[in-house]
């Protein structure tokens, strides 16, 4: 082998070593666990049992039901990413104008992202309290509507965690969209104006196509992060309350592993999540031709 090849190998070897320890080894171990029977009573002498965990997940009734949790995860991810993108892009368009105090607005709008998630989640949980929470106080006092049992009813509790995560997640999309908007050459807009284009024409034919190459990877990342967002679900709903009705797949996995000690069951669920996200990412990236250049 040539000296240059050795040099290249030497350069990438430390990175490969790190990857092997922090990515490949845990992943392979997780795959083994998924085909095993590691639980509380067999934590030290577990063995491989084939597809038993997967069969159990797909065929045996559980509390909460796997398919219901899966459906909720899709609703949770779709609703969050949709609002993150819509609000984020809208605010980026506003901030991209020549506004007075633009810097201050930008700082304020980034705040939700800058506050630690734990604090955000617990603050929102307090705000959703039926009697003393600020949200119900606003609803009853200023809107004259009846108070909502945010954390006691399954649907409202699920809505509450979505609202919290929407608030928390839009600044990321806003920052990404703003960066993409600022890279669009101004001449394109000037040319469009000369041609008599209205704002919505410019938005449809210039802005959106040109921010797409940046937004597609951001949306893909957003989907993966939201799909796997344990903190907000766990903390706002206090570990799936009421009655384990606010779980998404990842909180379901966490509960199986660390509350019930069903490590192999949790590993099998993790593998299913991995396959879902991998399939989605490949399909989405190919379908949207995200890797192609806009210019």
């Amino acid at each position: 082998m040539s000296r240059q090849k050795w040099f290249i190998i030497a350069l990438i070897a430390p990175a490969i070593l790190v990857m092997a320890f922090v990515v490949f080894y845990p992943f392979v171990y997780n795959v083994f666990l998924a085909f095993g029977n590691m639980n509380l009573s067999r934590i030290r002498d577990w063995e491989l049992v084939g597809f038993r965990q997967f069969i159990k997940i797909f065929t045996e009734p559980s509390q909460p039901d796997f398919y219901v949790v899966f459906l909720k995860t899709i609703i949770w991810t779709a609703a969050n990413v949709f609002f993150h993108v819509v609000i984020g892009v809208f605010l980026a368009l506003v901030l991209n104008q020549h506004l007075k105090g633009r810097g201050a607005f930008r700082t304020i709008l980034i705040l939700p992202w800058a506050i630690p998630q734990y604090i955000v989640a617990l603050t929102w949980r307090g705000m959703f309290n039926y009697e003393y929470g600020s949200i119900n106080l606003i609803i009853t006092k200023y809107l004259g509507l009846p108070a909502v049992e945010w954390l006691k009813s399954p649907t409202e509790a699920f809505l509450a965690i979505i609202l919290t995560n929407v608030w928390l997640g839009f600044p990321f999309m806003m920052v990404i969209a703003l960066g993409a908007l600022q890279s669009i050459p101004h001449e394109l807009y000037e040319a469009a104006e000369i041609d008599g284009a209205k704002w919505h024409h410019k938005l449809r034919t210039i802005t959106l196509p040109l921010i797409r190459p940046v937004m597609i990877p951001a949306i893909t990342l957003g989907v993966i992060w939201t799909f796997n967002n344990l903190n907000i679900v766990w903390l706002v709903s206090n570990a799936g309350e009421p009655s384990d009705n606010t779980h998404i797949l990842v909180s379901f996995v966490y509960k199986a592993a660390f509350n019930f000690y069903s490590f192999s069951h949790a590993a099998a669920l993790s593998l299913i999540i991995f396959v879902i996200l991998l399939t989605f990412s490949l399909f989405f990236m190919r379908k949207t031709r995200a890797t192609e250049s806009a210019y």
């Binding site: 030497a10 070897a13 430390p14 070593l17 790190v18 320890f21 029977n37 639980n39 509380l40 009573s41 934590i43 030290r44 509390q63 307090g126 309290n129 039926y130 009697e131 003393y132 009853t140 049992e149 954390l151 006691k152 009813s153 399954p154 206090n238 309350e241 009421p242 009655s243 384990d244 660390f258 509350n259 019930f260 000690y261 069903s262 069951h265």
Partner: protein
């Protein structure tokens, strides 16, 4: 282009970096034992932790060369983290907490028996309930007994605590009427507690004559008349008598009592000192009797203490046990009792006037006497997890009490089956 000297320098740097990397990962395997550093994992609240830290500093001063590191972990994280870390050959030397995870620790072989290191004479100095024996081995020795719920009341609103459920309801109504309401919400509630957690529901279950296990101590007995009646009773407190808040988890109940917006609170001995510090004229009383059955509401009681990790090597055990004996000694227990009013475990301390004349500690002891020890079998974990969703569904109006009792039982049996498969 590279000159002649550079490749050598490059390879040396590369070798150093790679070795450092390998060494850093070698820490991921079994723990390299530092015999002079003892690590304790615990779930003590800040006031308890401050006392522990003082005691450990004293120990370090008296035992030169030994360093003690205490690490706080939230209760659930402590339990699961300890099991996982221990299996990986990591974790602390001593783990401190309530006795209920002992069954799990024993099943996972993450702790080792203590009776081989502590003589019978030494153990006899401690109250029987301070020693957690499981499968004929001593797995935990406590510095506090109780960890139990009791009725906390604000003397500003009540001259004396209620002794029966009827009195509790009547007194709560009177307090609420006296202090009026705003937009349909009482300015002061009669009672509050964390009614999302089954641990806080146990006193009602026992008050109606129920328990979580059959006589064999491992088969759940959740589908019982007592369970149905207890669920109905708790729901009626909110929906019929309207003496508890519409929604109340631990934080809300705690905040309501601290803000003097509830006259009574059901909470554990870990919280009482905080209310006294807050300047509230606090009284502690045993939980009332259920008139229908003539039984006292009996909370679960459990000691809080230390267990020895299975990973402590033989050559380190002596120094860890020496520290354990120091933490359990009279001087340290008395310091804790004076500061946070918990019940001690050394028999000698019960004869002291300052304890016998302390109303909070004495009422706490009375409540412990009326309580029932929390089972330490691993099946208890399945019972908690099976009780929680149906209980919350009853309080949310999504299930009847009868249906919830059936669901709890089915779920508990399934979880135990899964656990043992």
């Amino acid at each position: 282009m590279m000159n002649q000297k550079r490749p050598h320098r490059f390879w040396v740097c590369h070798l150093v970096l790679s070795t450092a990397l390998m060494l850093s990962f070698s820490g991921c395997g079994a723990k390299v034992q530092d015999l002079n550093t003892i690590v304790i994992w615990h779930q003590m609240r800040p006031d308890e932790r401050a006392i522990l830290q003082r005691q450990l500093r004293r120990y370090e001063e008296r035992t030169p060369g030994i360093k003690v590191v205490e690490i706080y972990k939230e209760t659930e994280e402590l339990r699961s983290g300890f099991v996982i870390a221990s299996i990986a050959g990591q974790g602390p030397d001593l783990v401190y907490g309530p006795s209920d995870p002992i069954g799990i620790y024993e099943a996972t072989k993450t702790i080792q028996p203590l009776e081989q290191f502590l003589s019978k004479d030494y153990l006899d100095q401690f109250s029987g309930s301070a020693q957690t024996w499981h499968n004929d081995h001593l797995y935990q020795i406590a510095d506090k007994i109780g960890n139990h719920l009791a009725l906390v009341y604000n003397k500003k609103y009540l001259e004396r605590p209620p002794t029966s459920d009827r009195e509790l309801i009547e007194m709560s109504r009177q307090i609420q009427e006296k202090h009026g309401s705003l937009a349909g919400r009482p300015n002061v509630y009669g009672l509050a507690w964390n009614y999302t957690e089954p641990f806080f529901f146990i006193p009602f279950l026992t008050g109606f004559g129920g328990w979580v296990f059959d006589e064999d101590g491992v088969t759940p007995s959740l589908n019982s008349t007592a369970m149905v009646n207890a669920l109905r009773f708790v729901r009626a407190l909110r929906d019929t008598h309207r003496i508890i808040p519409n929604e109340s988890d631990y934080e809300i109940a705690d905040a309501l009592f601290k803000d003097q917006k509830t006259a009574m609170l059901i909470n554990g001995d870990w919280s009482w000192a905080g209310y006294v510090e807050k300047g509230i004229d606090v009284g502690i009383a045993p939980l009332p009797m259920i008139s229908e059955t003539g039984l006292w509401c009996a909370p679960m009681t459990s000691p809080k203490g230390y267990s020895l990790s299975a990973n402590v090597p033989p050559e380190k055990i002596e120094s860890v046990i020496r520290l354990l004996r120091f933490l359990l000694n009279e001087e340290n227990q008395l310091e804790t009792v004076r500061a946070i009013m918990t019940a001690p475990t050394l028999r000698s301390l019960y004869g002291r006037t300052e304890i016998r004349s302390h109303p909070i500690i004495m009422n706490s002891l009375l409540q412990i006497e009326r309580g029932r020890p929390m089972p330490v079998v691993p099946e208890m974990r399945a019972v908690w997890d099976a009780m929680r969703p149906p209980y919350q569904a009853v309080m949310g109006g999504a299930r009847t009490s009868e249906q919830a009792a059936r669901d709890m039982q089915d779920l508990a049996l399934k979880k135990i089956r899964d656990m043992n498969e």
